[in-house]
């Protein structure tokens, strides 16, 4: 693997609820982002995947734990330092229609970060906007348009442009292609991976479709109820994936090449409320290989292969597992 760029250590986020209880959205999350690589974070809605990624862009701060980037704990940054650091990590949101100011022209949208950091003068705005749009294969004339004059795919390209304008090292994409049609999704992913190769960007990508995310991730982390249950290399996903929950996610993927006569076996029931996660393994009540030990002890991530960690008693190493 290439150089370690960002590391999250024991990150936990608790939200207090109205009735005095506590919701643990992220529980002791440890993840690493490597330079020029993509980390895919997969899980059902409400499992805490967005909560985690939001820490990286200072939209929220963890209750415990630290996120190390450039030798600093970025969760503690303030004022001037925070402003400087923000240049290096950017975000692309799920719905480009609601993440732009509808009254701003595309030109102003993509150049706002540049002006903010004094990288360009106001007079250079027009030329720079065209250049940036060409980078994402959009015609330069789009600079004069408003977000509502564009299709979803085009808007998402603009969102990518805005995130790339300052040439950041890390981009966080929160379901950046979920709102798009499959054919558009394909072209956007081709664009993202092309730009990644050219500029050596690190990407943190959130998605709930394993089939899709494995097509462009170097590392995949599966999250369930705030816990990372498996981290595995992206290229060998279907061979190495072994946590019962990851397998279930994998079996739930509909694919044009699947065997149509095979009956799909969805996992039973729904995820329990994050307000009362069962003791022991969070997945125990939906797992068909649940053992007595799963009810008592929460499994921790254990390395079982190169770049492959899993939190499950089935694969642990005896007592210390």
């Amino acid at each position: 693997m290439s150089e370690l760029l960002l590391e999250a250590r024991h990150v936990t986020r608790r939200f207090p609820t109205n009735d005095g209880r506590e919701l643990v959205a992220c529980n002791d999350v440890n993840l690493k982002l490597y330079r020029g690589k993509t980390l895919g974070l997969v899980g059902e809605s409400g499992c805490g995947k967005s909560t985690f990624m939001r820490f990286l862009v200072w939209l929220d701060t963890p209750t415990e734990g630290e996120i190390i980037y450039k030798g600093r704990d970025i969760t503690k940054l303030k004022g001037r330092e925070l402003h400087e650091m923000r240049q290096h990590i950017h975000m692309v949101f799920q719905d480009p229609a609601t993440s732009f100011n509808p009254k701003m022209k595309i030109r102003d949208i993509v150049c706002e970060p540049l002006l903010n950091y004094g990288r360009i003068r106001r007079s250079e705005k027009n030329a720079r906007a065209r250049e940036l749009l060409q980078m994402v294969e959009l015609p330069g004339e789009f600079a004069d348009r408003y977000p509502h004059n564009m299709s979803g795919g085009q808007r998402q390209r603009v969102a990518i442009t805005r995130a790339l304008a300052l040439e950041p090292e890390i981009i966080v994409m929160d379901e950046a292609t979920s709102a798009l049609d499959v054919s558009v999704q394909e072209t956007v992913i081709e664009l993202i991976t092309k730009l990644q190769r050219e500029k050596n960007i690190t990407i943190g990508f959130i998605c709930h479709n394993l089939g899709f995310i494995q097509s462009f991730s170097h590392q995949i982390a599966v999250m369930y109820l705030g816990n990372i249950v498996e981290v595995m290399p992206g290229d060998k996903l279907s061979e190495v994936c072994c946590h019962p929950y990851s397998r279930a996610l994998l079996n739930a993927v509909f694919d044009t090449r699947m065997d149509f006569s095979k009956k799909i076996e969805p996992i039973k029931g729904e995820p329990p409320s994050p307000l009362d996660v069962p003791a022991g393994c969070p997945f125990r009540d939906r797992c068909d290989r649940c053992m007595p030990v799963c009810r008592e002890k929460r499994p921790t991530l254990q390395e079982i292969g190169p770049g492959h960690e899993v939190a499950c008693h089935l694969f642990g190493r005896g007592e210390d597992a």
């Binding site: 059902e44 054919s183 991976t193 190769r197 709930h208 097509s215 290229d235 993927v253 509909f254 694919d255």
Partner: protein, 262 residues
């Protein structure tokens, strides 16, 4: 004879024709999926079948024949007897179609009593029974809940239960799983397939998820810009079709162990 025969229809909103020359035939117990990009007119087609075109939409030419009768000449009373009884529809978010300020049970009872003159208590019982038949846990609690108190997957199952109360011959599903998580999606897809096996319901599924469409359907209709681009049995569409658009659409579906971009 086909159960539903959409014969060369044009649908317009105002002056512009949104759907042109659309023909689909569906037999008893068949599942047909309509795929296409957003704005290709796939939802318009199934809404036309149920006479639910929004905002002045109209079928301007062609005919829709259900069970030997044309649907385009029905009056209000006839529609009322047909909708929700012979032909049902499931929407993308079944919770949103219900009144948010009323209990699910009350909506359900109202629905049952539109089609059947029975006392409220019996209608309530019938509703709860339907929910348990759709394998929803604790049906009484669900009847006493508001739509926003249930998860997306549960709401969708309530929607299916409502739609299936009178064992319709034809079920129209408009993006039934698009708003759900993959695991819940698998549950709903399986449940819809079982409806066909148990009750012989014919289903039209509109979806942009080609994986789901391919898994469920006997036949697939590909739409583009308001026209039918390609249609045929699933195996033909997936493997044999020579239509360039179909090929491109299928090629774009991410596949496990398929194309990798990095």
């Amino acid at each position: 004879m086909a159960l539903l025969d959409i014969k060369n229809i044009d649908v317009s909103y105002g002056k512009r024709a949104t759907v042109q020359g659309c023909s689909i035939e569906l037999d008893q117990g068949q599942i047909c999926s309509v795929v296409g990009e957003s704005g290709s007119g796939k939802t318009t087609v199934i809404r036309a079948v149920l006479g639910l075109l929004p905002g002045g939409g109209k079928v301007t030419s062609g005919d829709i024949v259900y069970d030997g009768k044309s649907l385009l000449t029905l009056n209000k009373r006839q529609w009322r007897a047909l909708r929700g009884h012979d032909i049902s529809m499931i929407f993308q978010d079944s919770g949103a179609m219900m009144n948010q300020t009323r209990l699910i049970g009350n909506s359900f009872v109202e629905y049952i009593r539109t089609h059947e003159a029975i006392p409220k208590q019996d209608a309530w019982k019938k509703g709860a029974e339907m929910l348990s038949r759709m394998r929803l846990p604790d049906p009484d609690r669900i009847m006493r809940s508001y739509p926003f108190q249930l998860s997306g997957g549960m709401r969708q199952r309530v929607g299916i239960a409502m739609g299936m109360t009178y064992r319709p011959k034809l079920l129209l599903a408009d993006e039934p799983t698009s708003a759900l998580d993959v695991t819940t999606q698998a549950q709903i897809v399986r449940q819809m397939m079982e409806l066909r096996d148990e009750y012989g319901t014919s289903i039209i599924v509109v979806t942009h998820d080609i994986g789901v469409a391919a898994y469920m359907a006997d036949k697939v209709v590909v739409m583009k810009d308001g026209r039918i681009e390609d249609q045929g049995p699933r195996e033909y569409i997936l493997n044999a079709s020579t239509n360039a658009y179909t090929r491109r659409l299928i090629g774009a579906v991410p596949s496990l162990g398929g194309k990798r971009y990095v």
